[in-house]
Subunit: 390 residues, 2 copies
């Protein structure tokens, strides 16, 4: 099996990007990644694009070929694939791109992700995003994402004493980090008090515990690790790429205070990379709600089950803490285009490991991880990155 | 790069399956394929599922994990991916499954495809299926699939003298073959006269030139070719898996009487398999409209450009002819669930090469091919199969 490296990254601004369409956003991110890699379009062997729901947001399926087309690659007839796994579409597209290079079928591959959510109104967007959970058992009974994550939060509070203040600290940290991230939707600090005073969306989750659906796109250029240095002086190697599934509906889970898909994907990834969670100094984690960051930093093995809230409150997940979690600002402050988030997370880790993250740079980061989930944890994807090939 | 073999196949009945849901259909096909392979669910390492538009037909995204879940594999947390490329979703899912096994990441993989179209009415279904073409340049101006394929037909008739009778012969042959296929939606013969007298949908295409959207699912079990004989006495080897893209919109094509994505995918596939088109004795070809079978049998190299209509009229594509095209009945008579068709085609080729196709068996078939396109040819996928490993 060939090893895989990242040789280029690109990302659009995230947010309400009224003046750009789905295809505009995808092409912008792709061009940035290709320019960053210093290659030309002719050198690309295949494209894997993550997208959750262009069929419903902009009435367009066949999104892989569409992006290849609008990237000017149609005349080259490059293989183009769209991958969907709800909010984990980007991470799963990256996994497929890794398989593609590892297999030897393709040498230079673009892994991209895009979503355009603002062509429908916010209420309709919330309804469309609920298609990530089990339609027949959850969504049609009003089980939207915030409602289901509120159940997870409630269960976690009851089992481990996690508090609303601890949840608020996730949002506060992520907003603070995003001040220095030019692609983030919300580049302003917020206070714990502001989070606690914001209105409830689904108790105990308040407005400022929630990420917002956003427009945006991100892209990576991958290649065979052995050839990476012929393209760039700063390749970042993918030490592990792993994917796991779970039941879509919460009621079929063993325990809703943990996401077994994350536990399983992380177990396989750490084993493949031959490292321990304690060696990770920078992590992009799926904080679609504040509770999901807390659950995830436990499930990834950074903190013991039940101690994620306390660790957050004590600053252990800040830049400079035990493990810097979401130095980008995370989904909470960057905004969350479901198809793009998993790739945007990987872009951030690559920038951090290259030492190019500017004022949000995590010191001494030698190993980084990205963690992307679909729905309430029906899919989890974990990637481990390093500037060293092994 | 590891070689890949098919060790199990399964298919539901295609058609208006009112009593079964998307998840029911997917599980039924998967269970049949697993039983055919003689393995247990625990032996499956990953699932790649093709689906075009569950988000719009049944308001459910996150379809990969959903299928794993309802197949009873959620507790095993197997990696599950949904792949979308419009009508080519099944074929592209198969390509991704091949990459997955070839890479060495996964040993035993299910490649499946499913679509449930009858939960919306037929007019709405036609509108949803038009999301396979360029929404911004074609679909919103009324450029539905039949309208665009009618333009292709008109251009082919003008350039090469193809006639409406020749188009009708495609439908007549495919209906005749489907009489012996228990999964087909339409198991009755039709006459050339009946096709010619059926009402125009988009001139020159008539009702009986068109395949119909259908419910259905199909599945394959793949494994490392070297281990295939430990599972079955009749493995079928995948000699080539290739994918190509083109512009979504017809107006950006070099020539609309040919699909360059098919030409390119076929060129790469024949090169990888080291065979010539003349060695192929059985082919499942994307006959979403009768004209698309004629264009495709030319683009795949079975007949010279412009001679597909004449070859069809002369019986060269019948079982027993030069190359048996669509012995299953094709999309025309089996019905066309966009996510499932590419896998259903592969199932038919495997049955043919195993000699298990009953009354529709193609004699002396040693090499078979499946060809699946998305939209009007924005994506094309070609797979070449043989009972011999090389």
């Amino acid at each position: 099996m060939r090893k895989v490296a990242v040789i280029g990254v690109g990302c659009t601004k995230f947010g309400e990007i009224w003046e750009k369409s789905l295809r505009d956003l995808a092409v912008e991110a792709g061009v940035k990644a290709i320019e960053d890699a210093g290659i030309s379009g002719e050198e690309i062997d295949a494209l894997f694009g993550g997208n959750m729901s262009a069929g419903r947001f902009v009435e367009q399926e066949h999104v892989g070929a569409l992006i290849a087309d609008y990237s000017g690659l149609a005349s080259l007839h490059i293989p183009a694939v769209r991958v969907e796994a709800a909010d984990a579409s980007g991470g799963v597209a990256l996994h497929n791109a890794v398989l593609a290079v590892a297999s030897g079928f393709y040498d230079v591959v673009v892994a991209a992700g895009v979503e355009k959510v603002t062509d429908v109104d916010a209420e309709r967007a919330e309804e469309l995003l609920a298609s990530s959970v089990d339609r027949e058992w959850e969504a049609i009974y009003g089980g939207t994402l915030p409602a289901l994550f509120a159940q997870i939060a409630r269960a976690h509070m009851r089992a481990y004493g996690t508090t609303e203040e601890q949840l608020a600290n996730v949002a506060v940290k992520n907003h603070r980090n995003a001040v220095h991230n030019e692609i983030a939707q919300y580049r302003r600090e917020i206070s714990v008090d502001a989070v606690l005073k914001s209105p409830y969306v689904a108790e105990p989750l308040k407005v400022l515990d929630c990420s917002t659906p956003a427009d945006g796109a991100a892209a990576l250029v991958l290649c065979d690790a052995e050839k990476a240095r012929s393209y760039t002086d700063s390749p970042i190697y993918i030490l592990a790429s792993s994917l796991a599934s779970d039941s879509l509906s919460l009621h079929d889970r063993r325990d809703i205070t943990t996401m077994d898909a994350t536990v399983e994907a992380a177990r396989k990834a750490f084993k493949a990379a031959r490292i321990e969670p304690s060696q990770v100094k920078v992590a992009e984690v799926h904080d679609i709600y504040t509770i999901s960051e807390i659950v995830s930093i436990e499930d990834l093995g950074f903190f013991k089950k039940g101690e994620g809230g306390k660790a957050t409150e004590e600053g252990e997940t800040e830049i400079g803490g035990k493990v810097a979690v979401n130095p980008s600002g995370g989904l909470k402050a960057c905004g969350h285009p479901p198809g793009a988030t998993g790739i945007r997370q990987a872009v951030e880790i690559v920038l951090q490991l290259r030492g190019e993250a500017g004022k949000r740079q995590v010191p001494n980061a030698e190993i980084g991880i990205s963690h992307n989930i679909g729905g309430t944890g029906g899919t989890a994807v974990v990637h481990i990155f390093s500037p060293s090939p092994s």
